[in-house]
């Protein structure tokens, strides 16, 4: 069983696929709903306090906006703990979405820096690409081993 960081971290579909292949998904696991009545697309748990952006200083300097550092206090430890990563670029909002582009750039960069198995692919635009997309994820997760 491998700890797999998924990007976008809010993607329930991706989280589910990783679990089904016997691995542990590292994600925020917050559903993106059809209607959005919260502040952001990936509104955080309520226990986010002004302390979190300070904890985020480990991954982003003080001149980086507080929202980035607050997010990094959640995702930074997961990135450090992960043993594999799946990165989906330009995902549709309904697939899973993280609200801040600067945080997203940093997360993807930190994952790409790590010497771990990675799958880095684009979100499919049609059915054919969709089939290839799922197959690529399946192949990647299979290759990681783990219990099905």
């Amino acid at each position: 069983m491998v700890k797999v960081f998924i990007y976008p971290a809010t993607s329930l579909i991706l989280s589910d696929m990783v679990s089904r292949f016997g691995h542990t998904p590292l994600s925020s696991a917050i559903a993106v709903r059809e209607r959005i009545q919260t502040a952001g697309l990936e509104s955080p748990p309520l226990q986010i306090t002004p302390e979190e952006p300070k904890k985020g200083l480990r991954w982003a300097a003080v001149e980086v906006p507080a929202g980035v550092r607050g997010r990094m206090s959640l995702y930074g430890p997961q990135i450090e703990a992960c043993e594999a990563a799946i990165i989906i670029n330009d995902a549709d909002l309904s697939f899973g979405c993280m609200g801040c582009a600067r945080t997203n750039e940093l997360i993807k960069f930190l994952l790409r820096q790590k010497d771990i198995p990675k799958l880095d692919l684009y979100y499919p635009k049609n059915e054919e690409e969709g089939v290839q997309f799922v197959a690529a994820i399946k192949r990647f997760l299979d290759a990681l081993g783990g219990k099905k």
Partner: protein, 412 residues
């Protein structure tokens, strides 16, 4: 019970910065209620494309879609609060464009703010109060003449001012540096009443504003306790006799600055604050002290100098003072240094705050610093316009309070 003012929040990063509850608290404190316009995922894609600002952050796309929903009336609100992370360039562009878009396309009052994790509800309170006042008290703000005998008190961070007005005329004033808040207030009130030749019992209504407004207001049983953004706007257009049409009010204060875009005496958009004391009246106070002149002499001194001869950037009050000391040590004249200090403060306000409001003529400068003519001249040069400084401009908050308080005079 009065229903709360519904304030639509358009934001990016407030929750992850850990300050969402501070925004909620500030709104609640002044009878407001923050809500997030409810929109569908498909609306985000459509509205974001239609708006045409190609940003990358999904939460900014969400903010854009929500702004369109408000302007098009698909979601109802009384006011709008736009907030994004400080130091995020992408968010700053969206914040400014949304503020402009909502102001131009709707009648909703808007406040925009960039926050850090250190933002508190106290910092937001005055802005929220102004927002709810504009939304709720348009009738009160529509007042154009003062009636009866009223007292206005401005308990500011640096100075406390009082004004007594009778039948649309100022008949008494009082001014002193703020030390003990209540004592300073009582002293200036006593002075203003003595000058007017009346007693406290003759006063029919009282209004307070400024940082100490709640404490003093409670003590002197004020009929109106009101933040300085709306009060100063009213006071400025009243004193400058520009009550109708657009105007821009600039108040460079002792602790923070206000830039307010006004229409018919009612604030439309405004900014409040400043990055550092280097952009406030404090820096000019320090400059006059270092130059060995009274603050009242700084303006005339600056008018005799050439600011361009002295490199000075008071982005930070410490570095600004360093530039000042270096310039004097290098042989610059006091006149040139005084002019450079005025230019530097004006430039900070111009760069940091005036870019966030729509500058419309006439530009009216008020507050104690408006008496420093070197500063007014520097601001006029930067804005390429003649800045209006009305008579009694240093009493602006007190005059605005006295004017608005007359709406509370009870008919016998």
């Amino acid at each position: 019970m009065t229903p709360p003012v519904r304030i639509a929040q358009l934001s990016c990063g407030a929750e992850y910065s850990g300050i969402q509850h501070e925004i909620d608290d500030a709104a609640r404190e002044v009878g407001g209620e923050i809500f997030f316009p409810d929109i569908a995922l498909k609306d985000i894609r459509r509205d974001f494309d239609l708006f045409g600002l190609d940003v990358r952050s999904p939460d900014l796309k969400l903010a854009i879609a929500r702004a369109k929903a408000l302007v098009e009336g698909r979601v109802e609100a009384d006011a709008v609060f736009i907030a994004t992370c400080f130091r995020c360039a992408e968010a700053a562009i969206v914040r400014n464009e949304l503020r402009r878009y909502i102001t131009e396309q709707s009648k909703l009052p808007v406040v925009s703010y960039s926050f850090t994790e250190r933002t508190t509800s106290g910092t937001l309170l005055t802005r929220m109060e102004a927002l709810t006042t504009i939304a709720r008290r348009r009738a009160l703000l529509a007042r154009e003449t003062q009636q009866g005998i009223t007292l206005g008190l401005d308990s500011g961070s640096a100075t406390t001012k009082a004004v007594v007005m009778k039948d649309n005329r100022i008949i008494g004033t009082g001014w002193q540096p703020t030390t003990e808040v209540l004592k300073s207030a009582n002293d200036v009130i006593a002075h203003a009443l003595a000058e007017a030749g009346i007693t406290r019992d003759d006063v029919q209504a009282v209004g307070t504003t400024g940082y100490g407004r709640f404490l003093v207001g409670k003590e002197i049983k004020a009929d109106l306790i009101q933040e300085e953004l709306t009060v100063n706007s009213k006071g400025a257009v009243y004193l400058a006799d520009r009550q109708h049409g657009p105007a821009t009010v600039i108040d460079i204060g002792g602790m923070d600055n206000k830039a307010i875009s006004v229409m018919d005496g009612i604030p439309g958009t405004f900014t409040m604050g400043g990055i550092c004391a280097g952009a406030s009246g404090r820096f000019l106070e320090m400059t006059s002290k270092r130059l060995g002149v009274d603050i009242t002499e700084l303006g005339p001194l600056a008018m005799k100098g050439m600011g361009a001869k002295v490199p000075m950037n008071s982005y930070c009050i410490v570095f600004g003072t360093q530039s000042l000391v270096n310039a004097l040590a290098a042989g610059s004249t006091r006149e040139d240094v005084a002019a450079a200090a005025c230019h530097s403060v004006a430039e900070q306000v111009f760069e940091q705050q005036l870019q966030e409001v729509d500058i419309k003529e006439p530009v009216i400068m008020v507050g104690g610093t408006s008496l420093i003519e070197g500063l007014v001249f520097a601001m006029g040069e930067l804005l390429q316009t003649k800045v209006v400084v009305p008579h009694h401009s240093q009493y602006i908050g007190a005059v605005g309070s006295a004017l608005l308080a007359s709406g509370f005079i009870k008919d016998d």
